[in-house]
Symmetry: C2
Subunit: 135 residues, 2 copies
DNA sequence: TTTCACTTTAGAATTATTATAAACTAGAAT
DNA sequence: ATTCTAGTTTATAATAATTCTAAAGTGAAA
């Protein structure tokens, strides 16, 4: 992903490209593979990777803006901490509770044959599969 | 579920049948259908239902003991609050984000045809499906 | 250069949960 | 029945994750 795309991510999130936001955006989006993270882990990684200091509040704010804009998704998986995901397409996850790690599963790699119909008056928004792992 | 079974739930959880614990256990287990709850919602419901005052700490402790003993399961579903489930068998859920409600889906009502194999050195512990609902 | 809306940040506040430690209670032993 | 004691309850403190607040900083445009 090029720098121009980073600026686009920010623009489409309604965010001005400040030093801090560009650092965060580059760290999140300039990568090949999906990145799963918590705000805590992102904060630590950013502190190691970059010279500039970025406050936790800015990380929370920026991550939420990206989520609202659809550039990040949130994965419900582990207790009382939020997990975020740079993969915003419809997909599934392995979850390794030993390491607290998520691994992507492509939507096409899981095929559901039989599914119940939604309760009265409701519709199905999406289906999420978690495959929990053990050693 | 009879009172004798309630006492068994407590005994098998390593808990003496105190007034508070019996109240909690009866409220959780003397019902036909699955009950999904948070500690907060359980606390409110118990406060309405019973005369005796039960402290929040006791509710947390008792719920955790039941979970450890396998009489309750925890469902990862909504942000930063824990959801518990009186259905401890392998099953799936509808999740209605409008009402924050879970609805059980019998394991047999979802059939998965194709599933990826676990990553190197890992095994599949279980598969959980969430069907998110909208209006 | 001044302006001013937007931004960052430290720290306070809030929420969910867990830990602590003093007062209480159920049984067992006398 | 009374005593004893390990287990229990509870208020409150501590912790953890997140959100809020308000003061200081920044930068593009006037
Ligand atoms: Mn979660
Ligand atoms: Mn959760
Ligand atoms: Zn993912
Ligand atoms: Zn359930």
């Amino acid at each position: 992903m090029k720098k121009i795309d980073i600026l686009k991510k920010l623009r489409t999130s309604g965010l001005r490209p400040t030093k801090q936001r560009v650092e965060i955006a580059r760290f999140l989006f300039e990568r090949e593979k999906t990145f799963h993270f918590t705000v805590e882990s992102l904060n630590k990684l950013l502190a190691k990777k970059t010279t500039a200091k970025i406050s936790l509040a800015t990380i929370y704010n920026t991550v939420h803006s990206f989520k609202t804009a659809g550039h990040l998704s949130e994965v419900e998986v582990r207790g009382n901490k939020s997990y975020f995901d740079t993969n915003v397409s419809n997909h599934h996850h392995f979850y390794d509770s030993e390491t607290s790690e998520l691994i992507d599963i492509d939507a096409n790699d899981i095929v559901i044959q039989k599914i119940p119909k939604a309760p009265n008056g409701k519709k199905i928004k999406n289906v999420e599969v978690f495959i929990n792992l053990k050693n």
